[in-house]
Symmetry: C2
Subunit: 286 residues, 2 copies
């Protein structure tokens, strides 16, 4: 997905939020915003938003000197999600279609996103998503793919959401999962430590994509990751950032699992804002 003009004010909003997480020094925060302003004329709108987001967060890190402004927030979100974990497991085991419920729970976890909305309400949205209709729902294809595939590559998104991903992964115990994290901290995206703190080490192999953007930009991923991607029978891509960077990729079989929290992404997918989707990128083959 390309970057839209509407993304530009949003980059400033995100820079402001991240800079405020990093420091209370107003002059430093102003310096961040000025540096992002300086960056803007040189950005290409043909690049995906995570490509620009990567540059914006590099500016935040460089000027504030703080490598991981969301460290505490991420830890807190993981703690909150871990406290919910037993309840999530009960929801799955008590449902008529446990896999579908686990899929819905994985999407519900996707609301933990400070890039898109710092004011989310986890329990309210969890209940809503458990009842919400999917706007795009390639569930038959998903079931068929799951039956064929032994190895699944799971592209993680935010820290905390990872606990919800774990619930889905645990529902597919017969499969070997590789859970992919970002190479370095960026927004509240999941890195190795966050995945381990979410208990994912017990149910999946954890690798880094090699990419330091808030998405999976293939040209910035490591050779090691790309080899795993090429060998993968099935990819589950969580969240907006991964969608933005992979929406035009057709070389690998990818299921996008997300809530469209941003109006521009919703428009790009062709669904109303707030929709939940399970979309297969090889749909035309069916």
């Amino acid at each position: 997905m390309k970057t839209y003009l509407d993304c530009i004010p949003c980059f400033f909003q995100q820079a402001l939020l991240a800079a405020r997480k990093a420091t209370t020094d107003e002059s430093k925060i102003r310096e961040v915003l000025d540096a992002v302003a300086e960056l803007m004329p040189s950005i290409s709108l043909t690049a995906s938003p995570p490509e620009i987001g990567r540059e914006v967060y590099r500016v935040v890190r460089k000027i504030t000197g703080v490598d991981d402004p969301f460290r505490e927030t991420k830890a807190e979100n993981i703690r909150t999600a871990m406290a919910l974990y037993p309840q999530l497991k009960e929801l799955v085991s008590g449902s008529h279609d446990p896999l579908l419920t686990a899929l819905r729970i994985a999407i519900a976890g996707n609301i933990i996103d400070f890039g898109a909305d710092p004011h989310f309400d986890l329990s309210r949205d969890l209940n809503a998503i458990l009842k919400q209709d999917f706007a795009i729902f390639h569930y038959d294809q998903f079931m068929e793919s799951i039956q064929k595939a032994k190895h699944i590559l799971y592209l993680g998104d935010n820290a905390g959401e990872t606990v919800f991903d774990r619930v889905l992964i645990e529902q597919l115990r017969d499969h070997h999962f590789t859970f992919v994290v970002r190479e370095t901290p960026v927004i509240n995206d999941c890195v190795l430590e966050d995945a381990l703190d979410s208990g994912l080490g017990e149910v999946a192999e954890i690798i880094s994509s090699g990419c330091d953007a808030p998405g999976t930009i293939l040209s910035r991923c490591s050779q090691q990751f790309l080899k795993r991607l090429q060998a993968s029978e099935l990819v589950i891509s969580k969240g907006q950032g991964n969608y933005e960077s992979l929406s035009e990729v057709r070389d690998y079989p990818i299921f996008f699992l997300l809530k469209a929290k941003c109006s521009i992404i919703a428009k790009n997918i062709g669904v109303p804002l707030g929709s939940i989707i399970l979309e297969y990128n090889q749909q035309s083959a069916f």
Copy 2:
């Protein structure tokens, strides 16, 4: 009121909205955003937001070549408001406290604001505001001031809102009103033509502030306006832009009449977002 860091992303949002009103040429719109980005490092946060807004809209005008991007929108808003006018008059005449109802109606008109929220819903908000409690309500002081003053200087805000202002002005028939408009088009703010189209010429003398910002910046107003201000017994200041530029002024007796639609302004006033207020700037004298 000074400019806050939170205003910076908002300036880009406003530039995008205005540029889109002016042109469908995406490269021109990008050029506007880049020029606003270039402007940002040089702006002083000690200036009020309308001072920066003035610069932003100058950029929009210069690059798009369109002097009044909101011309059609303003005309439509005036038409909508004029169609509501008979209903507004009935609301006033049928109420127990016609002046208070007229004050509430004038505030309700203040939701017509593309700078703060392009997605307003006039009839929904009108009904809500007619019932809403004031967060700040210097009504006794207002009544006392009204009884003493013969001449009232009324600082207009947005086109369309002007029809609602007219309802309030008509409720104070014993007073001489001077209605103040912006010198040139800026956002959807009211200029001379808009005031005339709203029927204000029948109930008030209309003058320009001489200022081309979306507010009343005294250092940018004409000598003619400043003389009128100095001679005024009472000033009614409508809306956020006038508040932002006059909130620290104590030399003239001003009543601020507005709905706090922006969280930063609400915080500056010290009220919850969405509050309606009638605030006297000489309150400490009481």
